[in-house]
Symmetry: C2
Subunit: 253 residues, 2 copies
């Protein structure tokens, strides 16, 4: 059975302006792999209501699951909950349980309007718990709304993943060699892809540091086929006279 598909919406001007380096895509991608859910698209979009609403509706229809990060705090640019409500055609209502939990966290007089606003969720939403912060993540239908701050995002992903229906996890086999060029092995690699049609056979040149080379990766949801394809990649590198090394090239290589 094909794995369920997922899309990740990163909501926030700070990635698009280059102010912030994204740290959440990889975290979600690896968590979904482990659950056997396939991340098929990521979109980074600005804090513009029409842009967010249109994108939510496009993506929740095209993919089995939609995850979002960002825009759920107490300030004026935190508009994700309102946009999800608008997109799904439900009102924003005060989530009583979240309201009382938030209220209990703040000293008397500091639970102001801006903070109370965080307890307003789309009608029917269920909270995504996290022990790191007061930010109110929530799930509604196939939409899962999480915080943008990486530490909070990770806590929410960790809480949510075991609660999602999953499948066979994604597995991969990687081999790399120094000094080889993609052009030296392109034709043989095409043949390996043909032999393993259910897998993704990828070729990744690296040349970031002093040393350069190519990493070959077989990836898929059929663990047995991945093992066989990995052996074929190893053999290919060796047959060209290079030393095959298992795994990913060291950072900075």
């Amino acid at each position: 059975m094909a794995p369920r598909t997922a899309c990740f919406l990163v909501i926030g001007n700070e990635i698009l302006s280059g102010r912030t380096q994204d740290a959440n895509i990889r975290v979600l991608a690896q968590a979904l792999n482990g659950r056997g859910i396939r991340l098929l698209e990521v979109r980074v979009i600005p804090d513009i209501p029409e842009h967010i609403i249109t994108t939510i509706n496009d993506c929740r229809a095209r993919f089995d699951l939609l995850f979002t990060s960002g825009g759920i705090g107490p300030t004026h640019d935190d508009i994700t909950a309102a946009c999800v409500a608008e997109a799904l055609g439900v009102p924003l209502t005060c989530h009583e349980e979240s309201f009382h939990q938030l209220e209990a966290l703040f000293p008397a007089g500091e639970f102001n309007k801006a903070r109370q606003r965080m307890a307003w969720l789309p009608k029917g939403a269920t909270p995504i718990e996290n022990r790191v912060s007061t930010a109110p993540g929530f799930s509604l239908g196939n939409v899962h709304v999480m915080a943008g701050v990486p530490r909070i995002f990770q806590a929410m992903v960790g809480w949510l993943m075991p609660r999602l229906e999953g499948g066979a996890p994604l597995t991969s086999a990687s081999w790399y060699s120094y000094n080889v060029y993609e052009g030296d092995l392109a034709e043989a690699l095409t043949a390996i892809q043909h032999d393993f049609p259910t897998l993704d056979i990828g070729s990744y040149p690296f040349d970031e540091g002093q040393k350069r080379g190519v990493a070959l990766v077989a990836k898929g949801y059929d663990a047995e086929a991945v093992t066989l394809a990995g052996a074929a990649l190893r053999t290919l590198l060796a047959s060209l006279g290079f030393t095959p090394l298992e795994g990913d090239p060291p950072r900075g290589a």
Copy 2:
């Protein structure tokens, strides 16, 4: 005049699988800011032809400029040029000049079919030059196709930017304080956003390291308004009893 808008397509399974941490979004975002072009959306999509073609056509219609990275090497998973040709309805043809340049780079007998394939570009494309590699970037209409390997991507962005029609650059003013919470300043911040409707006033909590706090950022294409808004953000932090510090919080803060 409103700045021209841009979309960035990151093509490649390696980001979606979590194997690779993206390093190109921030590079392109900052380069576009400097040229006064507004990056309005990023999409990360897999090496699936229909997915790529549909996305190219959607995004080149919705945004003034479309940039892509990835999928332009010699291997079977390098399908970006063919997908751009298909999306734009033009044939893939051998680009004579690129063919001869590539041919001259390889020793006799090593300019094989896979490498020759890199010289096949959509009809009418003009190459994006780079001194780092043989990877054939190109521009066609409002679509600019670049390599995924960060060092090559940066070289191509550096060559391309001064050749694009730009506008007034994006400027920003940032102030942050430790220990402040977003909920303490949300209402005052809304008032500042109202005072500067042409700017984005953003609030970014940070709590990655030992210290936590909030950074406030005013950003826009009107440098004078940015300066005034920056002063208002500084005053806001001071008025709440916090020490305003200029710029972005130190990494790991």
